[in-house]
């Protein structure tokens, strides 16, 4: 039986009276899934991701992470999840290593494991020489890399990422995809939003398309796109809601 890491059931979230950002969205992410979440700007992707990570309260529905309710057991859910927003706002007055130690402390990662992972991922993303510098002196890409290392520090079961490839150099993007695959092979799951359909098509085994807060299509990528390219399917979806 497949191990369900993330279960979203009839998720709804409104901003104000009129604007329904997410409307009755349901999807499942299993261990080993690299699940791409695509849609236009304002379609409800970030709202969904923020609700999954417990940052945003939602009006209706349920979200379960590793079998636990985000509403009932938020801390337990967050303990096995890592979230990287589209524009990570890190503490600029901390050094890179101070930030990673803070994250390690919050997730209770023991010292030896922490050192091993920091060394491994810092070398992988080529920022080991910058960890002693203040984050304020980092470029956007370096901040993104630091946020990724922080997210990987506690070996999460579920990684939730909002546009993770924006700002990364080609090598770092390649390494990140490699990390995704390694994590999934080890039983974790990745759920991320992206506008780069080419990346989604090559990297993901499952895909969900959201439009106007509603899930238009979801499932195995081959089933969703059929004989067409993902781009063609996405453009069709924009034209028509029914698929």
């Amino acid at each position: 039986m497949e191990n369900k890491i993330l279960e979203i059931r009839n998720l709804s979230k409104s901003y104000g009276k009129d604007k329904k950002a997410v409307d009755g969205l349901s999807l499942d992410v299993y261990a080993g899934d690299i699940y791409g979440f695509i849609g236009q700007n304002g379609a409800g992707k970030t709202t969904t991701l923020r609700a999954v990570t417990g940052i945003l309260d939602f009006d209706a529905g349920e979200i379960y992470i590793d079998g636990k309710s985000v509403k009932q057991q938020p801390v337990a859910c967050k303990a096995v999840t890592a979230y990287i927003p589209d524009n990570p706002d890190l503490y600029e007055y901390l050094t890179g290593v101070q930030y990673l130690n803070f994250i390690g402390d919050m997730f209770g990662v023991d010292k030896a494991l922490r050192r091993e992972r920091v060394e491994k991922y810092a070398a992988m993303f080529r920022i080991e020489g910058d960890l002693g510098s203040l984050i304020g002196a980092y470029s956007h890409g370096m901040k993104q890399k630091l946020a990724i290392i922080g997210a990987l520090l506690h070996a999460p079961k579920l990684m939730v990422l909002d546009e993770p490839f924006v700002g990364l150099d080609p090598e770092a993007a390649f390494k990140l995809k490699q990390v995704f695959r390694e994590m999934c092979a080890a039983g974790s799951a990745i759920f991320f939003s992206t506008h780069v359909l080419d990346v989604a098509e090559k990297l993901c085994n499952k895909i969900a398309i959201i439009k106007g807060g509603k899930l238009i299509a979801s499932g195995d990528i081959d089933a969703v796109r059929g004989d067409e390219s993902l781009e063609a399917v996405f453009m069709e979806v924009l034209e028509s809601d029914a698929r």
Binding site: S14, Y15, G16, K19, A21, G42, T46, T47, R50, T53, G54, I55, L56, D57, P74, V75, A76, K78, A79, T81, A82, Y83, P85, P88, D89, L90, Y91, E92, Y93, L94, T95, Q98, F102, I103, D105, M106, F107, G108, G132, S133, L134, G136, A137
Partner: protein, 534 residues
């Protein structure tokens, strides 16, 4: 392993004083700024301790020894409440690290508790600066006792807690009520300003009600009333110190801690909802073609500065408090029989110090000029206008406009707001005291010139000492280096001008001339200014 709320608290504290930045940077400018900040902090602390010691000795010398600790606690509580109120809900809500913190495996209670704790610790520093000298003076006059030391220590540690909680609760309530509204910033700001005005009016009323025929009587009445009526929990401390009731200190500690715990418990169920409404990324307003307008770059920048000011309650409240006091003072003066007050002063002076009569008659407008300077300098939006650009500063700095245009646009709201308020106050003072032409000229010119001085000095200081890496707006609008330097400096200048007012209009004219020279120098300096996103 440390508790998560402690880790959150530590991370926030590391960013407050800039010490971590100074310790880990190779940039000499950052280190120099940190050293300068530490020196300024030490000087202000020493001044505070000296000032408090002086007052404590005077009160104890007047035989009010037993009332002094409770009065000091009451006073610190009021000041803490006042400044916490200026922060409003900004210590808890819409912080830039909200997403990052809330995605960590930590409960909402721990997040709220850590935010509240940081505010408490900052205020505790001030409280210790007041209570340490008061305690020493108290034991010198009353004799030392370990039991009393324990009571004062416990009271000192708890003193800022209740005011911080009550002020934050008021801020939270206002934030929660208006979170879903489009003009929430403006409404919160207006409510905050109205609340601030109400407190000022009450404090003025309280001061007047404490008037007694002699100075010592005034002081005794004020000291007694502080603990008894203004902040009753302080009276419980006094009762324990005097041996009247041991439960007093336990009640004080219990109420303070219980209030904080209750607040955290009460807010946590609504924490995400309020933040979601404040950080709302979904609600949009239908665009109308008629919204397109055109203006000059400067006018557009100025409009943007005003919108920034009026859409942030904490910025508005901290930015206009001085101007608001001037308006309130002016309105209050309209209803006060100033002539009767002057006659009363004259009658007292004629019997005790007749030489003062002529002095007051001649120099009242010039003294008022010093007062105007004091109030104008109390708040300065320009001193934080640049820092508020924060992480999005690159957008503004890449615009095809000169740095001088940007800096002057950022200084302009301060000039216009302070100028209008101080002109109103000055005109009312001149009319009420029947000032002559020299008095009118001195006061009105000071109002305009010092408003310009404050605006330009504020933006100059912010240009030299920017702080872009803030997580809460309150970090820059309330306690950043430019704001602190400007407010303390303006207060010192105001007192200096009041002191020099015996020289008559010469002093005011010389002062204004110096201000004009500095204003011109700053405007010229801004021509070569460069703004970098860094």
């Amino acid at each position: 392993m440390r508790a998560k709320w402690m880790l959150l608290t530590k991370i926030q504290l590391m960013g407050l004083l800039g010490l971590n930045r100074a310790r880990n940077t190779s940039d000499a400018r950052v280190r120099r700024r940190a050293v300068g900040g530490a020196v300024a902090f030490a000087v202000v602390s020493l001044l505070l301790i000296a000032y408090v010691t002086l007052f404590a000795v005077v009160f104890c010398g007047l035989g009010l020894t037993q009332a002094v600790p409770a009065a000091a606690i009451a006073l610190t509580a009021i000041i803490t409440f006042f400044f916490s109120l200026l922060q409003g809900g900004s210590i808890l809500f819409a912080l830039k690290d909200y997403d990052a913190v809330m995605s960590l495996p930590v409960s909402k209670r721990a997040v709220i508790g850590s935010r509240l704790l940081v505010s408490y610790l900052v205020n505790l520093l001030f409280c210790l600066g007041v209570m340490a000298p008061v305690t020493v003076v108290y034991f010198v006059f009353a004799g030392f006792s370990f039991a009393q030391l324990a009571v004062i220590l416990a009271a000192t540690l708890c003193a800022p807690l209740l005011p911080v909680v009550v002020a934050t609760a008021i801020g939270t309530l206002l934030t929660a009520l208006m979170a879903g509204l489009r003009i929430k910033g403006l409404l919160q700001g207006l409510f905050g300003v109205l609340f601030f005005a109400a407190i000022m009016v009450l404090s003025f009323a309280f001061s007047f009600s404490m008037q007694s025929p002699d100075a010592a009587g005034n002081m005794a009445a004020a000291v007694d009333a502080l603990a008894r009526y203004v902040y009753p929990p302080a009276q419980w401390v006094s009762m324990t110190l005097s041996g009247e009731a041991v439960w007093g200190i336990f009640a004080f500690v219990g109420v303070s801690v219980a209030a904080a715990a209750l607040f955290v418990l009460a807010v946590s169920p609504f924490y995400s909802k309020i933040n979601a409404a404040l950080l709302n990324r979904g609600a949009r307003v239908a665009y109308k073609a008629g919204d397109v307008k055109s203006a000059s770059a400067f006018a557009s920048l100025l409009g943007r500065e005003f919108r920034r000011l009026f859409t942030s309650s904490v910025y508005l409240l901290n930015g206009v408090s001085g101007a608001l006091l001037l308006v309130l003072g002016g309105v209050a003066l309209l209803f006060v029989d100033a002539q009767a007050f002057i006659d009363l002063l004259r009658a007292e002076a004629e019997t005790e110090a007749p030489y003062l009569v002529e002095f007051f008659e001649q120099n009242l407008p010039y003294m008022a000029a010093g007062l105007v300077v004091l109030f104008i300098g109390m708040s300065c939006p320009a001193a934080s206008a640049l820092s508020l650009e924060g992480s999005s500063r690159g957008l503004l700095f890449s615009m095809p406009v000169s740095a001088r245009t940007i800096l002057l646009a950022k200084a302009m709201p301060t000039f216009l707001i302070d100028g209008a308020a101080s002109l109103f106050f000055s005109a009312v003072v001149c009319a009420k005291v029947g000032a002559g032409a020299a008095g009118w000229a001195a006061l009105l010119s000071t109002a305009v010139i010092f408003s310009a001085f404050t605006a330009l000095c504020g933006i100059f200081l912010n240009y030299k000492l920017p702080k872009y890496d803030w997580k809460a707006e309150a970090n820059v609008v309330k306690s950043s280096a430019p704001v602190t330097i400007l407010v303390l400096g303006a207060m010192a200048i105001g007192f200096l001008l009041i002191g020099l007012s015996f020289l008559g209009w010469y002093a005011v004219a010389a002062f204004n001339a110096v201000c004009i020279v500095l204003c011109v120098a700053w405007i010229a300096y801004f021509k070569g200014a460069r703004l970098y996103a860094g």
